[in-house]
């Protein structure tokens, strides 16, 4: 039991931190421009594929540096020449723009790298079990992912709360006009935030690529859950994003390890509905089976009872 709890915690935290890497960029963009960036997960995918390509040419460590930079540049270009023009036509147009962009990126990735998963391997340097708990190996690469994610969170947090750049970004979040009147180049701040947000997703892509699967559908698999993180955490709140990411990571991981169903809970009551009826099926569904929908249940509950999100202070 202790074994399962410990391993599940490690797995949950790791998954949560990966979510956070992506959600942090998304939540900043969302709160700044009011744009639900549907293409955010596509930048994550782009990061993974560029990481794969660069690691083929120059090794994994160069990929870890260059892929996020390239993805960040791509993000900045998208903001400068796409979103900024679309912005004039209102939020719906922006939404449709990013929606379309997600498909464009997916198709481009398929044209360049094909539809099958690519063989993105963990670097040989990190391809060993880091430690063993209760006879279960914990791969060094996962430990590395954990460390990178934490380092980025700390860096981002310090930058946003302790530096002048952070001050301007924070101010632009809530009072863009005032910041512009004070002589700051708000459009540039937007572009920079979009670029950095995309780069963060790119980093997530490079480090998740070898551990999960680098394939053209990876954006679609992770996209929806990001929105859950942003809404549950609260708009523009980095702590909120971190908290929600970890919450969802742990929620999903632990739910998988729980076999409890209604029939177990009410085992003593003597009530057993017939199998193959609607109630009978519901009665026997275990928590593990509904694990994948739990984040969305959380999303609905948060929207009903706390529309600002757990840490947010603005209405969605």
């Amino acid at each position: 039991m202790a074994e399962l709890v410990l391993i599940s915690t490690l797995n949950g935290v790791l998954y949560g931190l990966l979510l956070f890497l992506m959600a942090s960029g998304l939540t900043l963009i969302f709160s700044m421009m009011g744009v639900l960036n549907f293409a955010h997960a596509s930048f994550y995918m782009l990061g993974a594929f560029l990481g794969f390509q660069i690691s083929r040419w120059a090794g994994f460590w160069w990929a870890l540096i260059w892929a996020p930079v390239l993805v960040g540049l791509a993000g900045a270009l998208v903001e400068r020449f796409g979103l900024r023009n679309v912005h004039r036509h209102g939020h719906v147009a922006e939404l449709l723009f990013t929606f379309g962009l997600a498909f464009v990126i997916e198709e481009l990735v398929q044209i360049v790298w094909g539809k099958s998963p690519v063989d993105f391997r963990t670097p040989a340097l990190l391809d060993f079990p880091a430690f063993t708990v209760f006879a279960t190996n914990y791969p060094a690469y996962k430990l590395f992912m954990l460390v990178i994610s934490i380092a980025i969170f700390v860096g981002l947090f310090v930058m946003l709360t302790k530096t002048r750049i952070g001050l301007i970004v924070q101010a632009a979040l809530t009072h863009p006009h005032m910041v512009a009147h004070l002589g700051h180049n708000v459009p540039f701040v937007f572009m920079a935030v979009f670029g950095v947000g995309a780069a963060l997703a790119g980093i997530a892509g490079v480090i998740a690529g070898p551990a999960l699967v680098t394939q053209a559908s990876m954006a679609a698999l992770l996209g929806p859950i990001l929105f859950v993180v942003v809404v549950v955490g609260g708009l523009g709140s980095l702590q909120g994003a971190l908290f929600a990411s970890l919450l969802i990571g742990l929620l999903q991981t632990f739910a998988i390890s729980i076999n409890l169903s209604l029939s177990d809970i009410f085992a003593g009551s003597g009530f057993t509905p017939a199998p193959n009826t609607l109630l009978g099926d519901l009665w026997r569904v275990s928590v593990a089976q509904i694990a994948p929908i739990l984040p969305y249940v959380l999303l609905v509950l948060v929207l009903i009872f706390r529309p600002t999100g757990l840490f947010g202070n603005r209405e969605t």
């Binding site: 039991m1 074994e3 399962l4 391993i7 599940s8 797995n11 949950g12 998954y15 398929q110 539809k115 099958s116 998963p117 063989d119 079990p129 063993t132 006879a135 279960t136 190996n137 914990y138 791969p139 996962k142 551990a211 999960l212 699967v213 394939q215 053209a216 559908s217 990876m218 679609a220 698999l221 992770l222 999903q252 991981t253 998988i256 390890s257 593990a288 089976q289 994948p292």
Partner: protein
Amino acid sequence: MTSRSLLAAFVATGLLAGSPAVAQDSIKIAYIDPLSGPGATVGEVGLKTFQFLAEELNAKGGAAGKKFEILPFDNKTNPQESLVQVQKAVDAGARIITQGNGSSVAAALSDWVSKYNERNPGKEVLYLNYAAVDPVLTNEKCSFAHFRWDANSDIKMEALTNYMKGQKDIKKVYLINQDYSFGQAVRKAATEMLKAKRPDIQVVGDELHPLLKVTDFAPYIAKIKASGADTVITGNWSQDFALLLKAAADAGLQVNWYTYYAGGTGGPTSVKQTGLNHRVFAIQEGSANVDHAASQATEKAFREKFGVSNFYPRAFNEMRMLAAAINKANSTDPNKIAVALEDMKFDVFNGGEGFMRKDDHQFFQPMYIVSLGDLGPKEPFDEEKTGWGWRTIARLDAKDTVLPTTCKMQRPS
């Protein structure tokens, strides 16, 4: 170029791309399977296989004087999308469709084809299923228009459990399957058959996970480990198999695996990562290393052409039997082909005789239990360049795989 002429050029190329540049009297077979999304890896290999087969048959003159042509349609492993695609396929002139990935898709297609045939007498469509193995398709939901070349999941589980019966070191079994009709059929058959054949075996876990959505199986592996299982049975395919084994390799899980689809794309690579030498078993209708000259020559040609191994001997049986049936009926009318296929005996891809049962349109063929690991002296082929290949552990004749059916088929009068 002005924007208008650009537009005209664009439209013109679009029209050109849209019109199939083929002879009108070819035998069109619509291949309806995932060509994008998570199932695309297996869908693309399937498409290559059918194109290879069409070429092979056309080189011998096709059937009844006509050439075969494969029309690909992307259904994204989605039943609703499949119904859109099958309509498109029929509109494009296909009277024969083939599909394999996903029993949920197969059930929707079989249903659609039956209804379509009822409403459009004289324009019937034939549905050739090469890989969807939910037993209901040849039992409760059987259809005259549906033929299946893969052994259904009960037949496979029967064979697997017959082998497991003799393995005394199996004590605790864990079941992990995809949460849809096929995965549920596997878990049901496994539970019932193990109970009957080896009541001493304890089923310590019975897991269902979402189909083609899980990207990290580490939580599931942690659970398997905690259960103390020594053996895992899984019907997982495509990325759901590859990722499951990858997570097992990462965690260092040491168990024996009894699988349906270890040979699918990405499967052998992840099996190699686990280091479980000849401890991952699969139930298949053949393998590259079956000692049979004709199939090994085809295997060689297939690998040279596509760089991947042939995962679908059943597709070879399907297409070759289709050609034989068309020649026998001397017609491409789907109903006449269907009648010609019934009770047809056929020398299968890896050798030995198979037959298409008339009662439920299930094909019975010799089945092999194989394991993946180091190559022996008479095993020339490895898988996915891992250096590991298939070894035959047990072979069953077609007659030993026959299971009864509950099918009450409605036949055209």
